[in-house]
């Protein structure tokens, strides 16, 4: 009788308490469900076959007209360029490229840009892009399509892709003779890898309006209207083994799925072996289409997207909503088919022609198919509606737990009050629970302030100049700034003690903050959000105010410590160095990894300053403060004990 009619146990509190007892299990269930969902996506039942939804593209309706003569032109240009390269070891033969473009009959221009290296003052890099515009003969220049080829100098550390320029020029020569272009064609040769492309795009879209003090792009002498699409070529040789289609762009953005499908459709028509994350034929044959293969395919895509760094020049176009991708034509290494050595070169030209005619047919921007997707195979994909639930499942226990904690915080107070009074009291009579809102909010704000400092100090010109004048290297100065911040963050819970119930309230706040952040990150860049959710979510299960003792508490602390952004970066790089240089001793490895991680952080910062990659910003401004709060919670036991001791005293 007593149990059922005891008014101190309100239904809300009772229900809440029962659930709260199992909150760990609930969180674990959601965590496993989220991961299981993701694994399921690799099964053909959960993915869709790709299809073209833009009618205007009508791929493959035209017979390719480009012929042997264009290939021969490409070959002779390639030989000429090879001769030029003996004279230009570290620079681009701009004059030669511009002359060839001019000879073909393109409106040729040169674009200069200057990079002022943001850390060592005064250091400047100069670069030149060459581009030629083929004006559409019968319409005004309101729309354009870019065909780009990056040029790499002889002393470049990257793979030699000299053949892209001759292929581009041969195609330009073919296109010049046709009268059916409805959009301007821009043939662009960039240098300095992504920097040149970025500078050209900045100049194209913002030239004459504003100019960044770090990357001075200037203005362009001629433009070709609103760019609709772009195709980037990385051709290693005229004798091609297969084509790898690269799509990941800045901040994990992707081109419209129609663009990818178009390329797939046309490469298969001209009998080229091609695909996303393509590998040589021999390696491919054994395990194609298996679940394991699909899963690896998806994870590799997420891995590249999560860093937010584009894996080709195409990735910078996505910022301006220009659909683009890179065709990486990989050189044939096995000499199996000698009599048809350049057949594949012609197929590549035919593919480019087919793509150009389909893009020429476009009437509007790409708007039909998917912009958010994960490729499971070349011809299968998972759309945003299907993959978002796994992130939701990973993030939802945070909200559920926050709610349950809220209930139990109030319920426990109810109980203590009723016990003290020893008379069943009604809700109205109880004094409202005093939760230390102000101090908790202040604590959260101070953590966020540290994140803010992490974000502004390295970006500030004065700070950079100060360190340069002191003669400290860039990596060291960035490392120093961030190291101090992290140290401050780690020590913050030790000299800021929260009052009674403060920890519970902080826990609720942190859970909500974490859930919201993860979901927002996931919406902007699913890969990053998902990977962060996978590593952060276990803390929701582990962190517990009441029962964490001994082993579990130590485990929680260790895990939280490992989650520190700097620790994660260091451990990741240590892991990679271990594989890269297995011969080194442990101390040497540690030093090398430390140096590499400082470099990595600096690169992240550079990416953020020059290209607008927001990985650094997100980690420094959001996840670092979040870590401070989580760290406080995992240490929280000590503060509670001191409070209890004070109480008893």
């Amino acid at each position: 009788m007593g149990l059922l009619s005891d008014p101190s146990l309100t239904p809300r509190g009772k229900f809440g308490r029962t659930l709260a007892k199992h909150s760990g299990k609930i969180s674990l269930f959601f965590y496993i469900a989220g991961l299981a969902w993701f694994v399921c996506l690799s099964h053909p039942e959960f993915s869709h076959g790709t299809y073209l939804s833009e009618n205007a593209l009508s791929p493959g309706l035209v017979d390719p007209e480009i012929g042997q003569d264009s290939l021969r032109l490409a070959q002779s240009l390639y030989e000429e360029l090879q001769r030029e390269r003996t004279e230009h070891k570290s620079t681009t033969p701009h004059a030669w490229i511009a002359a060839k473009m001019h000879q073909i009959g393109l409106e040729t221009h040169v674009h200069n840009f200057t990079l002022r290296y943001p850390f060592s003052a005064g250091k400047e890099y100069h670069g030149k892009n060459v581009y030629g515009i083929l004006r559409a003969p019968r319409v005004s220049s309101t729309e354009g399509v870019v065909y780009a080829a990056p040029y790499r100098a002889v002393n470049s550390v990257h793979v030699d892709i000299t053949a892209s320029v001759p292929i581009l020029l041969a195609f330009a020569d073919f296109a010049r003779k046709k009268n059916y272009w409805a959009k301007d064609l821009v043939f662009l040769v960039t240098e300095q890898e992504q920097l040149g492309m970025h500078a050209w795009l900045e100049a194209y879209h913002e030239g004459g309006i504003r100019d960044s003090p770090i990357l001075r792009c200037g203005n362009l002498p001629a433009r070709a209207g609103a760019l609709q699409a772009a195709l980037n070529l990385e051709v290693q040789d005229l004798d091609i083994d297969y084509i790898d289609v690269k799509i990941e762009g800045l901040n994990g953005q992707l081109p419209n799925l129609d663009m990818f499908n178009l390329v797939q459709r046309l490469t298969s028509r001209s009998s080229l072996s091609s695909g996303y994350k393509h590998s040589p034929r021999k390696k491919r044959r054994s395990h194609r289409g298996s679940l394991e293969d699909n899963l690896r395919h998806m994870l590799e895509m997420l891995k590249i997207q999560a860093t937010g760094v584009p894996n080709g020049n195409h990735g910078l176009f996505h910022r301006y909503r220009i659909e683009s991708l890179t065709l990486e034509a990989v050189k044939r290494t096995t000499n199996t088919n000698n009599n048809n050595r350049y057949g594949s070169g012609l197929s590549l030209l035919k593919t480019i022609e087919g793509i150009s005619r389909s893009l020429n047919n476009l009437l509007e921007r790409f708007h039909q198919s998917y912009f958010f997707y994960i490729l499971v195979q070349n011809d299968r994909f998972v759309s945003i509606g299907d993959y978002m639930p796994c992130l939701i499942a990973l993030a939802s226990p945070m909200f559920i737990k926050a709610f349950l904690l809220w209930l139990t915080t109030t319920a426990t107070t109810d109980e203590t009050v009723s016990e003290d009074d020893s008379v069943p009291s009604h809700d109205e009579e109880k004094p409202p629970i005093q939760l230390p809102y102000i101090s908790v909010v202040l604590f959260m704000v101070s953590a966020l302030l540290l994140g803010f400092l992490c974000n502004t100090l390295p970006f500030s010109q004065h700070v950079r100049d100060y360190f340069t004048s002191m003669g400290v290297s860039t990596e060291m100065s960035v490392g120093l700034i961030l190291g101090v911040q992290v140290l401050l963050g780690t020590l913050l819970p030790l000299f800021y003690t929260l009052p009674e119930h403060g920890l519970e309230l902080l826990h609720i706040g942190v859970l909500i903050f974490m859930g919201v952040t993860l979901i927002v990150t996931g919406l902007l860049n699913f890969a990053l959000g998902f990977i962060l959710a996978v590593i952060i979510s276990p803390l929701t299960i582990l962190l517990n105010n009441e029962h964490s003792k001994g082993f579990r508490q130590n485990l929680t602390r260790l895990y939280t410590f490992l989650l520190n952004p700097i620790v994660i970066i260091y451990l990741l790089i240590l892991w990679l160095t271990l594989f890269e240089f297995p011969e080194l001793s442990f101390a040497e490895l540690g030093m090398r990894a430390l140096k590499a991680s400082l470099d990595a952080i600096t690169f992240g910062l550079m990416d953020s300053i020059i290209y607008g990659n927001w990985l650094y910003t997100a980690i420094a401004a959001i996840y670092f403060p979040l870590w401070i709060l989580l760290w406080t919670l995992s240490l929280g036991r000590q503060n509670l004990i001191t409070q209890l001791e004070k109480k008893t005293n």
Partner: protein, 359 residues
């Protein structure tokens, strides 16, 4: 008494059956004169409304469809002044067209259907549902050019040809609006009420085309559609050099038939309705005959696709009385005097009939 009652009943039943049979026989035998008069064509002039409702380069085939039909009806004698041609897009001058100013309906490219004498009455964004319905019902806005009006009367045989992208119960116009089958039926009903046609032949080549004539209630309408509800109409072939579909299947086979028709041909509408059997069309051609009084097999195809110019030679004098005879005579005299003053003025008529087409 009993027997006589039964016999009486039997007799009365027999009588009833007899009268019914007799009545049926009488119904079957309509007066021969009436039957003949119904089968005889009563129209005095021919009109054609040819509509391409879809724009965009990849819909090249719809423009080719319409221009091909235009060419055929013109060849069979309907003058440009009585053809309303609506083209929603300009394929000939599209920048993507490798052959500027030309439109072909066949990959072999032997006929440029966008030749020298094409008069487009409604072009580009003028092709709207509103303009189409206004045109049919004769409610054109003030100031509309005469060439943009459908000046039909109770003696007109009208051919309406529609092509574009259709669905169940609608046809898409441009990329923004659609005409429903109900709107179309209402427009035709208004035409009938306003005595704007004698007979109407309605021909549609779109997906689910049969849905467009389902709502018709007006008399004297014969309708044919390239596909039934739930079916797609398909294109015939691609020109690999232009990279678009050239023509739709139904129109292609209809044209194949029309090409063999001459102005004095004896071919009937019944034959025309069977031009595209399912094995070549892939879609099923739908025909609606219940509103049509005549037997299509006895209707010459030139009743709709050609133009009659009835001439009657009279040897005797015809007395034409006018209402205000005086005014007319005075006006005629004044005109004559004026003409005499400009004696150098010479009237030349352009060749009304494009004879070069028949060479």
């Amino acid at each position: 008494m009993r027997i006589s009652r039964q016999t009486l009943l039997l007799l009365s039943m027999l009588f009833c059956i007899y009268t019914q049979i007799a009545g049926q026989e009488q119904n079957n035998q309509l007066p021969e004169k009436y039957v003949e008069s119904v089968q005889r064509s009563t129209h005095t002039n021919n009109w054609a409304v040819l509509v391409d409702a879809s724009r965009f380069w990849f819909n090249y085939r719809h423009v080719a469809n319409v221009l091909s039909i235009y060419r055929s009806v013109k060849r069979l004698g309907i003058p440009d002044s009585q053809i309303i041609l609506m083209l929603a897009d300009d394929m000939a001058c599209n920048a993507r067209n490798p052959r500027p100013g030309q439109v072909y309906n066949n990959a072999k490219q032997h006929i440029n259907v966008y030749g020298d004498d094409v008069e487009v009455d409604y072009r580009g964004y003028e092709v709207t549902v509103e303009n189409f319905v206004r045109l049919l019902t004769g409610r054109t806005q003030n100031g509309t050019a005469r060439s943009k009006k459908l000046l039909t009367d109770a003696g007109s045989n009208v051919l309406i040809y529609l092509t574009g992208h259709g669905g169940d119960g609608f046809l898409k116009f441009q990329d923004s609006e659609e005409i429903t089958s109900q709107e179309l039926a209402d427009a035709v009903e208004q035409m009938w009420e306003k005595k704007r046609y004698n007979e109407l032949f309605f021909m549609v080549d779109t997906c689910q085309a049969a849905s467009l004539y389902e709502k018709f209630t007006s008399p004297n309408v014969l309708a044919v559609a390239s596909s039934l509800v739930g079916e797609d109409s398909l294109s015939h072939h691609v020109d690999q050099s232009i990279g678009v579909y050239m023509i739709d299947r139904y129109t292609y086979y209809a044209l194949e038939f029309l090409e063999r028709v001459q102005p004095n041909s004896k071919k009937s509408m019944g034959e025309f309705l069977q031009v595209c059997p399912k094995r070549v069309c892939i879609s099923t051609v739908g025909v609606r005959k219940d509103l049509y009084r005549r037997d299509p097999n006895k209707v010459p195809i030139t009743d709709f696709f050609g133009s009659i110019r009835p001439t009657q030679i009279s040897t005797g004098r015809i007395n034409i009385t006018l209402e205000d005879e005086e005014d007319f005579i005075n006006a005629a005299i004044a005109a004559e005097e004026e003409a005499a003053q400009r004696s150098t003025f010479k009237v030349e008529f352009p060749s009304q009939f494009p004879t070069e087409l028949f060479k």
